[in-house]
């Protein structure tokens, strides 16, 4: 089975309510196995949320990077 692997980019900067976790859940819903999701967020809560989320859903956090103006998270979708 061949599947086109996508890169999904999500700009969640500035989202405090409902918050970046909503954008992650949305991207997850629209993703396929093999896709990577890159999220930019200003809400630092994303770091804990994304780790808990990956554990629960069985997906992989490739990196979490703290930059001066944002957090950049990259996730690989292994399970759907």
């Amino acid at each position: 089975m061949s599947m086109e692997e996508n890169k999904i980019f999500v700009d969640s900067r500035g989202s405090s309510c409902p918050g970046p976790i909503v954008d992650l859940a949305k991207a997850y819903r629209n993703s396929k196995v093999g896709d990577t999701i890159e999220i930019w967020a200003t809400d630092k809560g994303i770091k804990n949320d994304v780790t808990a989320w990956a554990q629960k859903t069985g997906n992989q956090v490739l990196s979490i990077e703290d930059q001066p103006d944002k957090v950049v998270v990259i996730i690989k979708i292994l399970k759907r």
Binding site: S15, C17, D49, T57
Partner: protein, 390 residues
């Protein structure tokens, strides 16, 4: 100078406030809507869980003299050639503002359409909200499950408000010991934004509501909900908020829509991506704030200012009343650069939510603008976070 033609697609909260805020000396304003009636959507909550009436008003009664209203469903918006195509004809414009809100689409989750048809919901129509009320009243015990079927929910507090009001009703009907109440959510906690979750989650637990987190609804089969994450919930009575999408309207270019048909919009100046003369406001946009009437209101004012030559910029302000049942409430207050305030529950907050219903229709005309401005300044999230955040 000739008047500029402004076409507003959608006569909901945002569209009407914008139309009423434009000076008619410079602008020729037309509102197009597929319905001639506006429904006060926050009242769906009280129709579903308290059996109350939902207020409605005819759109022509809500707009100032001189504004044109056409009952004419929009099929296509051609941003490149500045034309709107409707069932009845076509409209050329100098400026367009899209304020088409959301539409629900139960067909995207297998099994949900049947559930929605049978049990109703409290986000889409008066009839559906009344169905929820009817079911709750004939309920004799068992498991009630309540939650949102997709990550996007119009009025983010409404799922928790629904489950708290259900608990209140079940308690008053003396069915508490025969009822299990389960709340499910795709997020890591009951409310997505953590500061307000810290206020509401303890209340939910205290009232015996079971919370299933990371429950992203995948399908429904034989009275059981299944999540993408592999969990299940069996139920007797489901109250499920269907997924939300943007309106079914074609755009030229197609690229202005995201995967859920929301319009790619600049979060500061509300312009549709790539266009100087096209704007989107309210629930129809993809900007990173809550889908709530307050946003539609503030964004309409921003666009009115920009069109009338004043510089303005949306700060992402949210201000959503949150009913906690038993006469108490809180508010979800935040902005693009301020985290949500952990706003303590009170009776006054609940009273303010009830007042909103009273002043809503006149607020569309701008009658209470000065009170709103005062109120927004008084509840500035920077100030409130200093007071309530630890």
């Amino acid at each position: 100078m000739e008047k500029k033609r402004v076409v507003i697609v959608g006569g909901g909260a945002g569209g009407i406030i914008l139309a009423n805020s434009l000076n008619q000396k410079d602008f020729d304003v037309t509102i197009l809507d597929k319905s001639d009636t506006q429904v006060f959507q926050p009242a769906f909550l009280y129709a579903a869980f308290m059996g109350k009436e939902v207020p409605t008003k005819k759109i022509p009664k809500l707009i100032k003299k001189g504004i044109k209203f056409k009952l004419d469903p929009v099929k296509k918006v051609d941003l490149t050639n500045k034309k709107v195509f409707t069932e009845g004809g076509e409209y050329a414009y100098d400026y367009i503002v899209v304020a088409t809100g959301t539409m629900s689409d139960a067909s995207t989750v297998s099994g949900l359409k049947e559930i929605d048809d049978k049990y109703g919901d409290y986000h889409t129509s008066i009839e559906n909200a009344q169905r929820v009320w009817k079911n709750l009243n004939s309920f004799k015990g068992g498991t009630i499950v309540l939650g949102q079927a997709s990550p996007i929910c119009k009025c983010p507090p409404s799922p928790i408000e629904g489950v708290l009001l259900t608990e209140m009703l079940i308690n008053r009907r003396k069915l508490k010991d025969r009822t299990k109440l389960v709340f499910f959510t795709p997020y890591p906690r009951a409310y997505s934004a953590e500061p307000i979750n810290n206020v509401v989650e303890p209340i939910m637990k205290e009232r015996g509501i079971q919370i299933m987190t990371f429950f992203d609804l995948d399908h429904i089969d034989a009275n059981t909900l299944y999540s993408l994450e592999g969990d299940q919930i069996k139920f007797d009575l489901p109250i499920i908020i269907p997924p939300f999408k943007g309106a079914k309207i074609d755009y030229e270019p197609k690229t202005v829509l995201d995967d859920d048909r929301f319009i790619k919009t600049d979060k500061f100046n509300m312009r549709i991506q790539g266009f100087d003369d096209a704007f989107a406001i309210g629930d129809a946009t993809n900007i990173p704030t809550s889908k709530a009437g307050v946003g539609a209101h503030l964004e309409a004012k921003i666009v009115a200012n920009i069109l009338q030559g004043k510089e303005d910029k949306f700060d992402g302000r949210t201000n959503c009343p949150f009913d906690l049942g038993y006469g108490k409430g809180t508010f979800v207050i935040g902005s693009y650069d301020q985290p949500v305030v952990p706003y303590p529950p009170s009776r006054l907050n609940h009273f303010e939510k009830m007042m909103m219903e009273k002043i809503y229709w006149s607020s569309l005309k701008g009658t209470f603008d000065f009170i709103f401005n005062l109120y927004f300044r008084h509840t500035d999230p920077i100030k409130l976070n200093k007071k309530f955040s630890k």
